[in-house]
Amino acid sequence: MKKLVLLFLLSQVLWALPIKVVTTLPVLKNITEEIGGSRVSVQSLAEPSQDAHFVQPKPTFMKKVREADLFIEVGLELELWGQKVIDSSGNPKVQIGQPGRVFASAGVPTIEIPTVLSRQLGDVHPYGNPHIWLDPVLVKKMAKNIAAGLTAVDYEGKAIYEKNLKAFQNKIDQALVVWEKKAKSISNKKLVTYHRSWSYFANRFGFEVLGQIEVKPGIPPTPKHRDEIILLMKEAGVKTILAELFYDRTPSEYVSKRTDAKIVQVPIDVGAIPEAKDYFSLITYILEKLS
């Protein structure tokens, strides 16, 4: 009888163990925690201050993924290093086609899909611009994909995930009203960005991105390109250079000095600075800095 009780207790403990989720980026970790609540234990592989394109697939990542029930990535060939981590993890649950693999971008309409695929265009993404999480409306769809992934590996939690998803999406809708109001109050909405990461953000909040300091995606500016950008900014009256925290300030400073534009260096992911502790504060912080 004692053994039966012990077995019962053990099964209850095992039953209560959270679903182990590994995400590529901290923003995906944050959304997953919002939806999964106490049913999930989430780890992000990339650090918030890292460039998501260039993360080193370390053996410690593989160790984390080996234990995972669910692996979540943006997709759209942003985290090319993710597949190497999965291949070396030896975890069959998170391979492509398995319930434990989630592409948060599935079904998200992308923009800037190249019409010609050539390395002459720089580091282009064949399926379109992958920085989709910077549009809160698209994040609602990403959250839905994540909820579907959680349900696929933990059907018992379906009702909770659906409830939390609804709450998260409502929270986005409510925040969107505030964010859009904030964006409307910004008078000069013309921007030059360092990398082409801000297209979704600009479309959502009515900013106009006139060019990039990079000559092509992933290719640093040449002197000629820098001069062209300076001319363009002067002619169009662009007064803001928007760049991610991890980029070198030197090229932006060169342009800024010659155009009197202010450099707004902001995080692109959750947790890079204390003020951007979750998705909502990240978007709020970016808009604050632009205003």
Binding site: E47, Q50, F54, Q56, K58, D87, I96, G107, D248
Partner: protein
Amino acid sequence: MFKIVFLMGLFAFYSHAESVESLEERIEKLEDKVNAPQLRSNLFNPGMTVFGNSFVCGGKGCERPFTLREIELDLRASIDPWADGVVILAFEPHGEHAAVEIEEGYVVLKKLPILDDAPLGLTLKIGHYLQPFGRFNQIHTHDLPQINQPAAVKAFLYGDGHAHTFGRTGISAEFFIPTPGETNSLRLNLNLINGGGLGFEQIQKSQIPAGLAHMTWFWDLALEHDLEVGLSTYLENNPGKALLQLYGTDINYKWRPYKQGEKKSLLIGGEFFVANGKKGNAGYWPLGGFVWTHYQINQWFYPGLRYSYYQGVGKQDNPNHSIGAFLTYYTTEFLRLRAGYEWDNYNQNKVLLEINFVMGSHPVEPYWVNR
């Protein structure tokens, strides 16, 4: 009457809300259909990459001034839900003609359909592959952080030619060894391969497979610093000869600050070898090894240094010392130019200029520092 109008209004409101909701759902489903092909459809063709590597050599120790070292064709794809395949063909010049070598050709079994899980993350590799003895030995020519393999690697593992002397064909089992904590990982790779001797000790083919093991311990020292230490063992038993033994260790330290993006990094590494005897002489254990460093000044330039040493395993019985200095310039991750100078205490005193290009769906480590 008012109540009826109110109820009808309420009904109309809810039906409207419901129809908007179902319309939204239908739009979303249609969007899903439109966007469905985004999920990494490679139309079942293998991912294909071509690497090209040439160099110019001047000074003492150069065979010819211009050398097309290799053109390599890398093909890889999933075979089915449980296995991946890799084929790498190298086209290398031999006089006025080119020879095709199968550099690698193997299948990786991630899990068998009859098993629910892969115990300890076990993966099996079967076929022809670069053997995991040390670190440099596993790197293709076009991926090296210097123009060529260090002299010690050539002496112990390559012999006189470019090809490895000990066999590349066999079976490998790689798995994690559980360790406490999340900032370190321990992996063991066990291999049974065709024998064939070592760089300095080529022996006749035998029916008895050789054994090779490589254990790697990786440690995240801090957020931007990591350390990897490996231990390698190669054992080959040939009838009528002493057990051929080769042991090695490899150490690599890496610093890469996140906030600098791709602009700064430092790598320091080394590998050391010891084997049992030239021509199987009992009691004679020649040593060898190399140390190197590679500092990234900015997005494009990486100067580096290398020192290599080995004793009594080559043509000469005296020790061999060589020093090299290299400067690497990347236009992008797909095109690399490298200048190098090498000196050794026998007959080398040469300057080399290398060009390396990559076409196609390159694997995920664009720069060497990301490996």
